[in-house]
């Protein structure tokens, strides 16, 4: 019940209202979110591969 009240108050905030009332706002935010995910996951992949290559070089 308490969580429901929190969610309802969150839904009533000006930010939430703006997102729900403007057609283009949600797709823009979603696009930025996906772009950020790709950069975070890609960066992790680069660092992991770099560490793996360094470890292999040391082992050799």
């Amino acid at each position: 019940m308490q969580l429901d009240a929190v969610l309802k108050s969150l839904e009533a905030t000006s930010v939430a209202t703006a997102i729900s009332e403007h057609d283009a706002l949600f797709p823009w935010i979603e696009s930025l979110h996906v772009l950020a995910i790709t950069l975070v996951v890609g960066s992790i992949w680069i660092v992991t591969c770099g560490s793996w290559e360094s470890a292999r070089a040391i082992a050799r």
Binding site: D23, P27, S31, V34, L35, T38, V41, G42, S43, W45
Partner: protein
């Protein structure tokens, strides 16, 4: 662009056994979408690394040829994965994608960025210092880096906007 031929093709594709299978089995589209996003992540990070070096942001300590050989290779490996996973999603929902203006724009952007990547790599394969050789080429390199990043970012954005058109 929405022609009758394209619409007829979409309707035909939607009724093929392969499309019906993709539509029926619940996990196929989410699984393929996940692979698609992971491949985009590999491409975006590689593109960012190559283009930042091309724009000389991390300096010139590491040669551009070595840098690009490491990361452009990832782009060429990820592109077939993107093509294959994208094809599965198109077969699953041909009407939603093939006739969609944003999807068509996305495909044009993909072709453009492949052309830009080839144009960047071609002179570098012959001369490792090509993009660092003169002031004019250094300015051109920054322009290529900014253009390539803008194209890839637009591709990611277009991928999301397909759902809203």
């Amino acid at each position: 662009m929405r022609t009758k031929a394209l619409h007829d093709f979409s309707v035909w594709l939607e009724h093929t056994p392969v499309s019906q299978t993709i539509q029926t089995i619940d996990w196929i589209v989410p699984a393929v979408q996940t692979v698609h996003i992971l491949a985009i992540a590999a491409v975006m990070a590689s593109v960012l690394m190559v283009n930042l070096r091309l724009a000389r942001v991390p300096g010139r300590e590491q040669g551009l040829q070595r840098y690009s050989a490491r990361f452009v290779r990832v782009i060429w490996w990820a592109l077939p994965v993107l093509l294959a996973s994208g094809t599965v999603m198109v077969i699953g929902e041909p009407g939603r994608s093939l006739e969609n203006d944003v999807f068509q724009l996305k495909m044009c952007l993909v072709l453009s960025v492949v052309a830009v990547t080839l144009a960047f790599r071609y002179p570098l394969a012959r001369d490792a210092t090509f993009w660092d050789a003169t002031a004019g080429r250094r300015i051109a390199a920054v322009a290529v880096a900014v253009g390539s990043l803008a194209l890839w970012t637009s591709i990611v954005f277009a991928g999301r906007w397909i759902a809203y058109y």
